[in-house]
């Protein structure tokens, strides 16, 4: 029995110390208990849990705390659907707040096939780097550089670079707005999800100048303005854009009616389709 004594001693010592430490922690937890508002946990569960930071807070839990504290309205979460926001508002008994779901749109249609390449760029494949060096490879100084800065920033994988052009998949985009800041050319904007058509051009240059470097620019011919109701489009210099603040946004059939000569007036779905079909053509040709 004696040779086992040392094991028993070791076992007993560990058991005693373990039990003592366990008790100390147990008691400390009771004494130093911090009352956390149970509503914070509830709201955190109701939130999408993407932790994207689109609301400006550190994460969903942090946002939940600010909602409970009354600092933010529930609809400040750009990812949550109408139902989720309503559920949170109901749980807390607060005003719903006017909620408008938004999606990001890249306002450029000039992919590899449409836009002339001006210079050969061999640097780091990043839009911000490229825009610093002689404005990047593309002919249009306002067009999408297509080097994935926004796609890398997107936590939801909603931006795809097709033919050297960033395209937002509207069904994947939740409108957190992370990509908006990354674009060195400010091409990405958040627009209401109800907006069906967009004008995929951001260049303020004159029509003739744009036509030299791109085959799908907005040349401000105003065909769409004339075809639409008043106030649905804005003309700013040599660029027409959809007025997203308008009471009634232009319907999808405006594309047919306006007969845009360059084809920069498109619905979001059609835009994705065109780019994808061009990708396929190119793949077969090669």
């Amino acid at each position: 029995m004696e040779e086992y004594g040392i094991y028993i001693a070791a076992f007993a010592a560990m058991a005693i110390i373990g039990a003592v430490l366990g008790c100390i922690i147990g008691i400390a937890v009771k004494i130093f208990k911090v009352e956390v508002d149970p509503r914070i946990e509830l709201v955190t569960e109701l939130l999408p849990g993407a932790n994207c930071g689109g609301c400006g807070k550190a994460g969903c839990a942090d946002f939940a705390k600010s909602v409970v504290d009354g600092e933010n309205a529930p609809n400040k979460c750009p990812v949550a659907s109408q139902e989720q926001v309503a559920a949170i508002a109901q749980a807390l008994g607060v005003e719903l707040g006017e909620s408008m779901k938004k999606v990001a749109v890249v306002f450029c249609g000039g992919d590899k096939n449409q836009e002339k390449v001006q210079t050969l760029y061999n640097g780091v494949s990043d839009c911000i780097s490229a825009s610093l060096i002689a404005g990047g490879p593309k002919g249009c100084a306002y067009g999408c550089l297509g080097m994935s800065s926004c796609a890398r920033a997107c936590p939801f994988g909603a931006i795809e670079i097709i033919n050297g052009l960033a395209v937002v998949h509207p069904n994947l985009c939740v409108g957190c707005g992370k990509c908006v800041d990354t674009c060195p050319r400010d091409l990405i904007k958040l627009v209401p999800v109800d907006a069906k058509v967009h004008i995929y051009c951001s260049s303020p240059e004159k029509g003739a100048v744009k036509m030299k470097v791109c085959s799908v620019p907005c040349i401000a011919c105003r065909k769409c303005v004339k075809a639409a109701e008043e106030g649905q489009f804005d003309v700013k210099g040599f660029l027409v854009g959809v007025n997203y603040d308008a009471e009634k946004l232009p319907e999808a059939d405006i594309v047919e009616k306006a007969k845009c000569p360059t084809g920069c007036l498109l619905t979001a779905d059609k835009h994705v389709k065109i780019e994808e079909s061009e990708k396929k053509d190119k793949g077969e040709a090669a």
Partner: protein, 204 residues
């Protein structure tokens, strides 16, 4: 050698000559993990200094007054000390200590709690904390010596971490050849930094 001199030697030895990260190679994972930005490095440094000082104090008390004394097991007539239990025991004690500190901090000082944040639980199983406890017992330091050594070892860790984080922030802007980008240049930098710290050897 006077006592004051001995403590000075202990201090300089812990911070510079036998730097925990760059000479003893302990605590490498937080050294690489949280050194991307200077402010997270500072947060981690604060938490490590706090935990390592406290851990050396508690473990040296346990080691000196519990494990070193021979005990006789009743009924079996076995007399033994429990030094062989030190690694198992230190792990348990440090983990419990960090838990306790976290619970207390959350109540007593919420600002400090949120400043140390996620770093506190991360340190629970940090090898630098474990290392300082085992070195203390191996060198037979008494409680005061252990605490001083623990504190200054952590300061040495903090020094290395802050230096490294500052260098890495500069590296973000440097043009690094593609094969060396990211973690590889960080490891090379750490190696050069360790070589620089060899210059302190022989100081004490």
């Amino acid at each position: 050698m006077g006592e004051a001199q001995q403590y000075l030697q202990l201090t300089i030895g812990a911070v510079l000559v036998y730097n925990f990260v760059l000479a003893r190679f302990l605590g490498i994972c937080p050294f690489l993990g949280v050194s991307k930005r200077l402010d997270t490095a500072l947060g981690m440094s604060g938490a490590v200094i706090f935990v390592m000082t406290l851990a050396s104090l508690i473990t040296s008390v346990i080691y000196n007054y519990m494990l070193k004394t021979a005990i006789t097991v009743p009924y079996l007539n076995v007399t033994t000390d429990l030094k062989f239990l030190k690694i198992v025991l230190f792990i348990v004690v440090i983990a419990a200590l960090v838990q306790l500190v976290e619970v207390v901090l959350q109540k007593v000082s919420p600002p400090l709690y949120s400043a140390l944040g996620i770093y506190l639980p991360l340190i629970t199983t940090n090898c630098a904390v474990m290392g300082v406890a085992t070195i203390n017992s191996k060198m037979n330091y008494n409680v005061l010596q252990s605490t001083v050594f623990g504190f200054f070892s952590a300061v040495g860790f903090a020094l290395a971490l802050v230096l490294f984080a500052s260098i890495r922030e500069r590296l973000e802007l440097a043009q690094v050849p593609r094969p060396f980008q990211g973690m590889s240049i960080a490891l090379i930098t750490a190696g050069i930094l360790a070589m620089a710290f060899i210059g302190f050897s022989g100081l004490c």
